[in-house]
Amino acid sequence: MKFEDKKALELFAVKVREGILRSTNACSSGHPGGSLSAADYLTYLYNREINANPAEPNMSERDRFVLSKGHASPALYAVLAHMGFFPVEDLLTFRKIDSNLQGHPNMNLTPGVDMSTGSLGQGISVACGMAKAAKFLQKDLNVYTLLGDGEIDEGQVWEAVTFAAHYKLDNLCIAVDVNGLQIDGATKDVMNTAPLDRRFESFGCEVIEIDGHDFDELEKSFEFFHANKNHGKPTVILLRTVKGKGVSFMENQAGWHGKAPNDEQLAQALSELADARKKIEEAI
């Protein structure tokens, strides 16, 4: 990836993180931890990978994205807003009464949201249905979905992966945000699902594990997905991530799963992000 392209993505991701923090602060609720860990993946996905058009969010030939870990809605909303699907100011209405930005994504309210999600384990099944439909209708498009590593405790995830492999859904790209934490603590302590790579491989998927905060590696992982197309296997990208990434006091803290920053914490977080932006701009 070109240096300036990478820096542009890094700057976009800073804006996304600001959006996550401001929107959760404004309503004093929401899930910043798992949104921050997913911010770089979503930044890359919408800027470089997915065929989607803010001017025509429902165009039939678009790629589809299903946020199976629906609680990371602040990250998705911030990305969609900065891509131009709706005004950035709307982020401050998140979770508020009569807002189009529900606590968990609603496809009938928010432009750019391809599926209503929130109940864990279901989004990946819907994504399977979309990928199957695309194949059935001979549409050359891709379906992307993002799961949490806590989410894969749900048995339905494995029903879906079995389905994806059985029906050879190589147009399906399943990413897992492996931040290692879920609400009650470390995933290895709450419910150990390791080894994820071997699990997904044994279910019949092509698996790649990358640093989920490194845009060069993200690019590589999607190249891996495209190289596997027409091989008859779904692709799984295991994103090694840090919960709360980009805000020092939130990083690797399970407590920030479902807690919003107060005004003081927001100010500190924004100043850290301002420093990060400055560094990126200086490098350019």
């Binding site: 279901q122 099944s125 249905g129 695309a134 079995t162 059985h166």
Partner: protein, 314 residues
């Protein structure tokens, strides 16, 4: 009812799917390793490329159907009522229902007439579960002609639908001129002393009850409420006004089904005495369908007993 041809509405479902599939390319059918029993196998034989077995994974199947519907396909997803409405309730609620998707959930093997398999497979809760989901259309046909028309009607209807079909063969009492409409009840026999409101296989028993009662000088109106939601309120309120007393009959727990829907309506708009016949908050058990229907009070004879009680003529 004697001498009438009988057919199980699950067969009607399979046959109607084939008829529809011949006309409409956008119909796809999903099953969960029960195609032989749900009769989607008939569609599979005709259109193998449009029938997708999802294995024994009903929750995944419902959400796969949801995903397919977003591409303009019209998925019919089938399993037993126990698993489609029961096991996959939350998938129906949170994905199909909440996202307002055009998915047709067509469950067979509803009620105790499943028979020998016993309580684990006798779903008597599906109307109650499905009724609670906003915008969900909930239906159950009473014979072959109604069932086939219902399947065609839900293809035309845009939105989420739950239909319960039955494994037990029931008399075909409609003629080919019958016109089914979603949300419309049907006065099958007119009468003025009491109204018997039924659906599914209890309609033919109710007709038989009305014939027995007629010989005793009791005029019973029989109403088929094939669409439990949205309810044909006008027809039920007219029955309350004209007859003054109502009996509901359903192959379902008396909690949350047709009887409760009728009671809720009447309690608010015209309270008249109602007796609910159904499964009385208990599980079923193994036995032949005919024995079970009799034992659980879903026979014409028991309906007559309850009518006489209500009218003080026992």
């Amino acid at each position: 009812m004697e001498g009438m041809k009988k057919i199980a509405t699950r067969d009607s479902y399979g046959n109607a799917l084939v008829e529809l599939g011949k006309i409409h390319d956008d119909i796809v059918v999903l099953d969960s390793d029960l195609a032989m029993a749900t009769k989607t196998v008939l569609f599979k034989k005709e259109f193998p490329n449009r029938h997708f077995d999802c294995g024994i994974a009903e929750c995944n199947m419902i959400d796969v159907a949801a995903g397919m519907s977003t591409f303009g396909l019209v998925p019919f997803a089938s399993s037993f009522a126990m698993f489609a409405a029961g096991r996959a309730f939350e998938q129906v609620r949170n994905t199909v229902g909440y996202a307002r998707l055009n998915v047709k959930i067509c469950a067979t093997h509803g009620g105790i007439s499943v028979g020998e398999d016993g309580a684990s497979h006798q779903c008597c809760e599906d109307f109650a579960l499905m009724r609670t989901i906003p915008n969900m259309v909930v239906m159950s046909p009473s014979d072959d002609i109604e069932a086939r028309q219902m399947v065609k009607a839900v293809y035309k209807y845009k939105g989420a639908v739950y239909i319960r079909f039955s494994r037990y063969a029931v008399p075909i009492y409609h003629d080919e001129n019958f016109k089914f409409e979603i949300g419309k009840g049907e006065i099958v026999r007119d009468g003025s002393d009491i109204a018997i409101i039924a659906n599914g296989l209890t309609v033919s028993e109710s007709i038989r009850a009305a014939e027995i009662l007629k010989s005793e000088g009791i005029s019973a109106r029989v109403i088929n409420i094939a669409t439990i939601k949205p309810l044909d309120e006008e027809m039920i309120l007219n029955a309350a006004k004209d007859c003054g007393k109502i009996i509901t009959v359903e192959e379902h727990t008396i909690i949350g089904g047709l009887g409760d829907a009728v009671c809720s309506l009447l309690a608010e708009k015209n309270p008249v005495p109602v007796k609910r016949i159904g499964i009385n908050d208990e599980f079923g058990h193994s036995g032949s369908a005919a024995e079970l229907l009799k034992q659980f009070g879903l026979s014409a004879e028991n309906i007559c007993v309850k009518v006489r009680e209500m009218l003080g003529k026992n």
